[in-house]
């Protein structure tokens, strides 16, 4: 039990944990002590002097952000002395801060505005000339306006301490002090934009958003990011059916403070000029636009005419869509041939852990990474492939003294945080673990995280290794995309149905389907033609996609689908946490994959249950909750925005090992598979050109 101390704040007797900073102790007791430079989790500055409080028997006011609360302490945060101090500090700040609030991006959501409104003076006594320096462009997505900067140093600290990048510093001194990129006039960093989010004023602004709108003209939708498998929540700022901005304003996701460049800026594929917004059918070997009625009829007819079918699902579509897709395949088309591009061997992991209790789970969540005393990372480069995971590890190492052990084929940035790191030859990762055995045996509990390098029989070996460790060992398999895990959980696999239950009849895997002689394909939100040679003309191909991808180009019927920000539903991140995807906006002409599938099913006369009658994903989700093992999760928690772990450990998983099919697409921070091509910010930043994952990672 933590020791509690009693203290008095504004004449009220309160208690707090011993050692808590006064500013936090006050907040826990419902008293706001204003501050600019204080930021939970970052190093202390005591620079802004907004949090000054009056402590009994102290000659001077003290900063609440640096004073640990002590037994018997008597504090005032609300007396005349404090009011005056706050008022003058704000008056000082406004001497050089331009009052361009009417045009400033931050106007309406600015901490300085709010503070002045609450604690400031109505007028100013400053009549001298203000300082001015021109605004600077640090990168296509980060701009700095020095006069607006109040020098709280949050940006420097988030970049140094949170990101471990250290791209920002401080130049000059006194009133001329300026935040500067350490590379001179431009950023060389991860372009995560965390500095923009954390800026309390409009000093750091987003190149993708600036001077376009006002905060109160937009609606805000916090929804899982469309890109990697981490499942961060991004807040989309939407005006007139257009996403104006992505940021972390909501900060309610399991990513906490964090968002990477993809989450923040990788939304504009939604409005790409290359979006398909009208269905197309192939006529005289050319895809020509047509009506939805015509296209659905053509798709239904083509599929009906074929005797054998292959179905390929997506790692980006929702659980509802993937669930319905496998139902469409197995019950509608009556084909066992269904698969998707796999990047983590979840079936092998669930099988290796079969028989373990649901609680405490042998599967770790993203939160567990943050709290674990030790992490063993095998393969993968989280800094690029799972940025939130990298953030969580860095945070845990920094604030909770977590011990990180790394085995990888090459050195990765997280080595900087590691207690120990070993380079292993491809395929020798598991043997290499022996070197850490003694160290890991001393750790309390270990979370073992592995990339697509570890698959098939290696997973069994890994679990055997984990079992020899004394504590409660938990596992995480890292998969590439926003719903890679969901696709597996929903049974978009040839050997497994939803919930890791054996399929009634095993079908062909992705490579076998594409190399075989199937008469028709239904490809939803996937681009296998990027990797595999698909003979156009031989088979009848129906493609549902947002773009004219390599696969879409060989379609006989091309149906424009809605993107992830344009529909409701649920997605499951690589940690098995299910989150609700919220409808952000509608794009004219596109339909959700669920709706398209329902239309085809109806046209083909399939009776696929609730989803056939309704295009609402909620009803499909109810069916998932009822019928998919491990997905009977608390709906209320889900609807209110929480991430709820699915319970996918349900006994043995008789699966067909195909380790050769499991590979990461090795996306960097600046690529995102086919989707990434249509995100302008990802390719606009200079860092994108150089960035590569180290050789050998993710294969």
């Amino acid at each position: 039990m933590p020791e509690l101390v009693k203290f008095k704040l504004n004449d009220k007797e309160l208690t707090a944990e011993k050692g808590t900073l006064l500013i936090e102790a006050a907040r826990q007791n419902g008293v706001e002590i204003p501050a600019f430079c204080y930021y939970p989790g970052l190093s202390l500055q005591a620079a802004c002097r907004m949090c000054l409080v009056d402590i009994e028997k102290r000659p001077k006011l003290a900063t609440a952000c640096t004073e640990p609360v002590m037994e018997g302490m008597v504090v005032w945060s609300d007396n005349e002395k404090i009011h005056t101090a706050r008022k003058t500090t704000l008056e000082f700040l406004l001497t050089n801060h331009p009052l361009d609030c009417p045009v400033c991006d931050k106007g309406g959501e600015c901490e300085l505005q709010d503070m002045v409104f609450r604690y400031g003076a109505g007028g100013s006594r400053f009549v001298e000339e203000k300082l001015h320096v021109p605004e600077q462009k640090w990168s296509p997505v980060v701009y700095y306006d020095a006069p607006r900067c109040i020098l709280c140093y949050r940006c420097i600290r988030i970049c140094n301490e949170g990101m471990g990048v250290g791209a920002l510093g401080l130049n000059y001194r006194g009133v001329n002090s300026e935040i500067v990129p350490n590379k001179g006039d431009h950023l060389e960093c991860e372009e995560c934009g965390m500095c923009i989010d954390i800026c309390p004023v409009g000093a750091l602004t987003s190149g993708a958003y600036r001077y376009q709108t006002r905060p109160w003209e937009m609606t805000y939708v916090a929804t899982p990011c469309a890109h990697c498998g981490d499942g961060c929540k991004v807040t989309l700022s939407v005006r007139n059916n257009q996403i104006m901005r992505g940021n972390n304003r909501d900060a309610s996701g399991l990513n906490g403070e964090f968002l990477c460049i993809k989450g923040r800026y990788g939304y504009d594929f939604t409005h790409s000029a290359e979006r398909i917004t009208k269905p197309r059918v192939r006529k005289n070997d050319e895809l020509v636009e047509c009506t939805w009625t015509e296209a659905i009829a053509a798709a239904a007819a083509g599929l009906k005419a074929a005797k054998t079918h292959g179905v390929i699902g997506s790692t980006h579509t929702t659980n509802e869509e993937n669930f319905f897709l496998q139902k469409f395949a197995r019950q509608g088309l009556k084909t066992p041939h269904i698969d998707h591009r796999r990047s983590a061997d979840f079936p092998a992991l669930m099988d290796a852990l079969a028989g373990r209790p649901a609680t405490p789970s042998a599967l770790a969540t993203s939160r567990d990474v943050l709290e674990a005393p030790a992490v063993l990372l095998i393969g993968n480069n989280p800094t690029d492939q799972h940025p939130m995971l990298a953030w969580n590890i860095r945070t845990a190492v920094r604030l909770r003294k977590q011990h990180l052990y790394i085995v990888n084929r090459a050195s990765i940035p997280l080595v900087a945080q590691a207690e120990a790191a070993k380079i292993a030859k491809a395929g020798e990762e598991i043997e290499e673990l022996e070197r850490f055995r003694d160290a890991l045996a001393k750790e309390k509990d270990v979370v073992i995280i592995f990339g697509s390098e570890v698959k098939g029989a290696d997973i069994t070996k890994l679990v055997a290794f984990g079992d020899t460790l004394p504590g409660h060992t938990r596992y995480i398999a890292l998969a590439d995309n926003a719903n890679s895990r969901g696709a597996v959980d929903m049974g978009v696999l040839p050997d497994l149905g939803p919930g890791y239950q054996p399929a009634a009849q095993a079908g062909m895997a992705l490579d076998e389907m594409l190399a075989g002689n199937l008469e028709a394909f239904l490809i939803v939100g996937a681009n296998p033609a990027r990797r595999y040679l698909i003979q156009a003309g031989k088979a009848f191909v129906v493609v549902q996609d947002m773009f004219l991808t390599e696969t879409a180009q060989i379609a006989d019927v091309l149906l424009p689908s809605a993107g992830p920000y344009e529909k409701g539903g649920t997605v499951t991140n690589t940690y098995g946490e299910v989150q609700r995807q919220k409808l952000g906006l509608l794009v004219n002409g596109a339909k959700t994959d669920l709706e398209i599938l329902s239309l085809i099913a109806r046209a083909m006369g399939f009776d696929l249950g609730a989803a056939n009658a309704a295009t609402q994903s909620n009803e499909v989700f109810e069916e998932i909750r009822r019928s998919v093992k491990g997905y009977n999760i608390a709906a209320a928690a889900l609807w209110t925005g929480s991430a709820v772990p699915a319970v996918t450990l349900n006994g043995a998983v008789p699966h067909r090992d195909r380790p050769d099919l499991i590979a990461s697409s090795n996306d960097t921070l600046f690529t995102s598979g086919t989707l990434g091509r249509y995100c302008s910010a990802l390719s606009a930043v200079a860092e994108a050109k150089e960035r590569k994952n180290p050789e050998g990672i993710g294969k």
Binding site: A47, L61, A85, T88, N96, E128, E129, G174, V175
Partner: protein, 436 residues
């Protein structure tokens, strides 16, 4: 041009020469002169004493920090924890930058070994084996002198391993600052010495516990260290008796401004301002009247002629609402424009504010801009009160004492010389123009 001793220290019968006693000797900075005149004998004596005995002797001397704060040196040394498995460091603050102060430079120029020896004795007192002398960047010529002294000491076995067969190791390094007044603040100095931006640290912990490289550190002013050998050699009681009961010893005092013989004098603590100005410094130039006195460097509140009988020691100055500070006495005559004085002072602090905290960064700049306008005749009645209010708003609310240093002279300028401010109103040009 490098000034000679006589330019800097005109000499006076009221002087009591302890730390400056070797300045007059030929080649006073050389190790030969030093060794021939009691040099490094205090170290040898201290080597035979226990750590507690050394600290006790320094406590007995009543020596108070000569950098300006006047904290008991013996006490400071005793705060260093004994049972920490970390290296300990001795840091000498030679970042002398307070306007009106130019005493440490004399010690470095004329007797650098005295400083090194003082640091070595501090090293003995806390079992530290490495010392750093952080020298103001603008004192380039002094860095050469100090480095030469260090080289000599190494060459003659007074620094390095097993010093003179005593079994004690001590290394010493001179390090140059980069021109920031702020780095004279002890924690900013440590940051700068570690190679970081010179901004102060949050305290506690204090340097005695977590100083340089987060290790226990004794950090004293040049003059403080230079005083230590004499205390060890002749005893704390002897040194103490040179000053007043609570303010032992002597102090290098710089007297500048409109006096006949400006310069640096080693005076016993407790000598009155009147005596210092009229007898030591020879009185006022042109026998004009005194208007204001800055007693201890530009950051200390100003005194007026009524307060001339105040003894120059830490406690008596405190009673008058000001500080003995660094011993930089600036005397101004009746033809001095106090608005211009305020402007000069504020120009300095606004230039030197590190910018870390809001009240100092913005407050000094605002005051500088306003005083510039005011002195040029653009002032308004309400500005006079505003100067005081802004200074009060900075006082005690900044991250480090620089804000206070800037605020205090403004408050005293408005308090004592309101008439000067009022004379600048209504577009009047400065009434003192051309009078000096």
């Amino acid at each position: 041009m490098i000034y000679g001793l006589r330019d800097l220290m005109p000499g006076s019968e009221h002087e009591v020469k302890v730390i400056s006693r070797r300045f007059d000797l030929p080649n006073s900075a050389s190790i030969d002169t030093y060794l021939a005149n009691e040099g490094y004998q205090a170290f040898l004596k201290a080597r035979k004493m226990t750590q507690d005995e050394i600290i006790e002797e320094v406590k007995k001397s009543g020596l108070r920090g000569r950098g300006g704060a006047g904290f008991s040196t013996g006490m400071k040394w005793s705060f260093v924890p004994k049972n920490i498995q970390k290296p300990r460091y001795i840091v000498c603050n030679a970042d002398e930058s307070e306007p009106g102060t130019c005493k440490d430079r004399l010690l470095m120029q004329f007797d650098p070994h005295e400083i090194i020896e003082g640091m070595m004795i501090a090293g003995l007192a806390i079992d530290a084996h490495k010392g750093f002398i952080y020298i103001r960047g603008e004192y380039r010529f002094l860095i050469e002198i100090v480095e030469k002294a260090i080289d000599e000491a190494y060459a003659r076995g007074w620094l390095g391993k097993n010093i003179q067969g005593t079994g004690f190791d001590f290394d010493c390094v001179a390090h140059s600052g980069a021109g920031a007044y702020e780095c004279g603040e002890e924690s900013a100095l440590l940051e700068s010495l570690e190679g970081k931006r010179g901004i102060p640290r949050i305290r506690p912990p204090f340097p005695a516990v977590a100083g340089l490289y987060q290790s226990p550190t004794i950090l004293n002013n040049v003059e403080t260290f230079a005083t230590v050998p004499a205390i060890i050699l002749k005893g704390g009681d002897w040194y103490h008796a040179l000053g007043t009961p609570k303010n032992g010893g002597t102090k290098l005092t710089n007297i500048s401004g409109h006096v006949k013989r400006p310069g640096c004098y080693e005076l016993p603590l407790g000598i009155s301002l009147r005596k210092a100005i009229y007898e030591v410094a020879g009185g006022m130039e042109g026998d004009k009247k005194i208007k204001a006195i800055i007693p201890g460097g530009s950051s200390t509140p100003m005194l007026v002629p009524d307060q001339l009988d105040t003894p120059m020691d830490f406690d008596s100055m405190a009673k008058q609402g000001t500080f003995l500070g660094s011993g930089g006495l600036v005397v101004m005559n009746e033809d001095t424009c106090m608005v211009e004085v305020a402007l000069r002072v504020m120009r300095f602090y606004s230039h030197e504010s590190c910018g870390w905290c809001i009240p100092c960064r913005e407050g000094t700049t605002w005051l500088k801009k306003m005083l510039t306008r005011f002195h040029a005749g653009g002032g308004e009645e309400r500005d006079i009160n505003l100067i005081n209010e802004l200074a009060q708003a900075m006082l005690g609310r900044t991250f480090c004492p620089l804000g206070d240093a800037a605020a205090m002279p403004m408050i005293s300028a408005v308090k004592h010389f309101r008439a000067d401010f009022e004379a600048h109103l209504n577009g009047n040009k400065c009434p003192y123009e051309g009078r000096q």
